[in-house]
Amino acid sequence: MRKKIIPYLLVSPYIVHFIIFVAFPVGFSIYLTFNNWNIISPMEFTGLNNYKRLFQDAVFWKSIFNTLIFLAIHIPLQIIVALFLAELLNQKINFRGFFRAAFFLPVIVSGVVVTILWQQLYGFDTGLINRLLVKIGFEKIGWLTNPNWAMPSIAVMATWKNVGLYIVLFLVGLQTVPPQYYEAAELEGATHMQKFLKITLPMINPTIFMVVVLSTVGGFSLFIEPYVMTGGGPLNSTISAVLYIYKQGFFYYHMGYAATLGLFFAMLILTVVMIQKKFVEKDK
């Protein structure tokens, strides 16, 4: 009897934690999707109304589209910049340790601090970037006030913030490539570009894939940047799905609807991750 109970006792902290912090919130969220609830009044059962509303909610679909636009800019940019810098930092250059640390620094700085800093850089009249543009003869750009530029501007900022982490991942990947391959290629007269395309890229493919997965999951949770910099504007051009769900939940206390949006969005992320997983398995 004692032998039977002990294993359960040993796993019980995890099970209790799982029930309180995972199973119950998920179950409660699903239950909420069938109700209207503003926290202070009793819940009102509304059946599938929240789901109907979701499919008719133009702003939610715009927020999904915005998130995809963000991912489409952010992921390739992240990979190109991180790989380029990792390649440079993998060479024997002076102050290599300093540069590696410097590129990693934004990763550990608070997201809010970074966004406020970039808000200043992107300022239309007084921002450093526009001042430089005017100096070299270009027109000023409304980085955060022009609906066409706002999301790309946020994507560039997010890349700057996170690139250090991916540089580290790529550096690890680059250091696993056996040097003999390069030596052999050099003997065959391969150029730098050929070595990069034919040896480096195929060899670090798993790392690239990991970066894509991490960037995708991170990108889907885009929140701080638009929340602080633009509030989702101009004209909803930077409202991300997570920001919209947050607004529904904690600005307007539409808890049932926010739970519905959250559930739908979680399913969307799950689908994307499953597709990515399929690719990984195929690759193996």
Partner: protein
């Protein structure tokens, strides 16, 4: 079980129970939460000390509303967690209806003497404003901070005006004269005014809403669960603001992160409240002159100029063990003398109809002439309409405001039509 273990268990149970026992039984009779700004804390402390000195058997304790992202969130969390204070004195008028609907507030008109007190303190329009949709009154009108036009008096004089621009035409004329590209780079960098361009719903309290109240003589935004703002006044306000941005008289860039652009002379006007006075007095450069005037109105406007009063009111939560005692305390806190003390300590206006006529307050206004401008405006302020979905209404207006006024994507009429449609849908749900 061994005796020592049993005793240990009992001790733990006693400690846990004593921690979780209802603190009402051991504490003062009434718990009062004030706002958490320094001046209001000082006032709350003064009031509570005065009360407790004369009523040792009915002790009131106060604490500032606990820190949070906003006091509204803290109050909501307290309501949900059933840890509300008995009295809260900084309730935004627009939030009251939702709490009343949820049954968390005491209907004050059921308390003895409340209606007489309210009639003595406020005029009928204020009483109507604070009456909930169910006919009860759940809030005591406490204080206001009317939104007015702050202007740089030196600049306005240089532009050839004796007073601040009063009408839209005068405003445009002054704006045209003042607007400038000072560094010659082809971009305007000196604007006549500035209002926050972000879409956050409450930002409209400082541009669209006070201008709408001014243009419409205090008309509601929603009435009988329907949008009531698609009218000539709103059309004129949207048109006015749109032109200000189109002609670059107002900055489209966010200037709020910079040093104070008003005191720096980068802008000449701002729609704001009396809280600017202490800031300006502290930081204004030598020779800087400023003043306040009513919100600009359409050229054809007749009658007094209304504005948004940003009212904050007092409520008693249903968790209060003795609402009659709470009400007795509040009657004391809101008497003539204590309203004067409130004025002196916080430089905010108590919402009472005799503010301009009661000799008790005359010496304060003599000493603070700029506050007298706000006191005169106080007769013509409105709060918000009673609606449980007011934030959504403001959000919808704000979205249309952005599309029409800031980015010119819609005409004022299209924006108002779309806003009206969306608000009416909100009430259908």
């Amino acid at each position: 079980m061994r005796t020592s273990n049993f005793l240990l268990l009992i001790a733990i149970i006693i400690i846990v129970l004593s921690c979780s026992s209802n603190s009402h039984s051991r504490r003062s009779k009434i718990i009062y939460w004030s706002s958490n700004n320094i001046e209001e804390i000082e006032f709350a402390r003064y009031i509570v000390d005065s009360w407790n000195k004369n009523n040792p058997g009915d002790k009131v304790t106060f604490q500032p509303v606990p820190e949070g992202q906003s006091s509204e969130e803290v109050i909501l969390a307290a309501v949900v967690g059933k840890t509300t204070p008995d009295i809260y004195s900084n309730m935004w008028e627009g939030d009251v209806e939702a709490y009343a609907e949820a049954g968390t507030l005491v209907a004050l008109d059921t308390l003895s003497g409340f209606t007489d007190f309210l009639r003595e303190r406020c005029d009928s329009s204020v009483i109507e404003e604070v009456t909930s949709l169910d006919g009860h009154i759940y809030q005591i009108p406490w204080k206001i901070n009317p939104v007015m036009l702050l202007y740089n008096a030196n600049i306005v004089k240089e532009l050839g005006f004796n007073t601040a621009p009063r009408t839209y035409s005068e405003f445009f004329e002054a704006a045209k004269k003042f607007q400038k590209d000072t560094d010659g780079d082809g971009y305007v960098d000196r604007w006549f005014g500035y209002a926050e361009v972000i879409v956050t719903w409450w930002q409209r309290f400082f541009d669209f809403y006070p201008l709408y109240l001014a243009a419409s003589n205090g008309a509601p935004l929603v009435k009988s669960n329907k949008a009531a703002f698609n009218n000539d006044a709103a059309l004129k306000v949207f048109g006015f603001l749109r032109e200000l941005y189109q002609k670059k008289y107002f900055a489209k860039e966010r200037l709020s992160a910079r040093q104070d652009v008003f005191l720096d002379g980068i802008i000449a006007t701002r729609f704001t409240g009396s809280w600017e006075i202490s800031h300006a007095e502290k930081f204004k450069p030598a020779g800087f002159e400023y003043n306040f005037s009513p919100m600009p109105v359409p050229d054809s406007h007749k009658g007094p100029v209304y504005t948004y009063g940003d009212p904050k009111n007092i409520v008693i939560f249903k968790t209060c063990p003795d609402p009659n005692l709470a009400w007795k305390f509040l009657k004391f806190a809101l008497n003539e003398e204590n309203d004067l003390k409130f004025l002196e300590i916080t430089n905010q206006l108590p919402r009472r109809k005799d503010l301009n006529t009661n000799p008790k307050y005359a010496s304060y206004f003599k000493k603070n002439p700029k506050m007298e401008i706000f006191a005169k405006q106080a007769k013509y302020v409105k709060g918000t309409d009673q609606s449980p979905v007011l934030k959504e209404v403001f959000d919808i207006i704000s979205q249309e405001y952005e599309a029409c006024v800031i980015y010119g994507k819609k005409t004022p009429q299209e924006a108002l039509n779309d806003a009206e449609k969306a608000v009416n849908l909100l009430f259908l749900k």
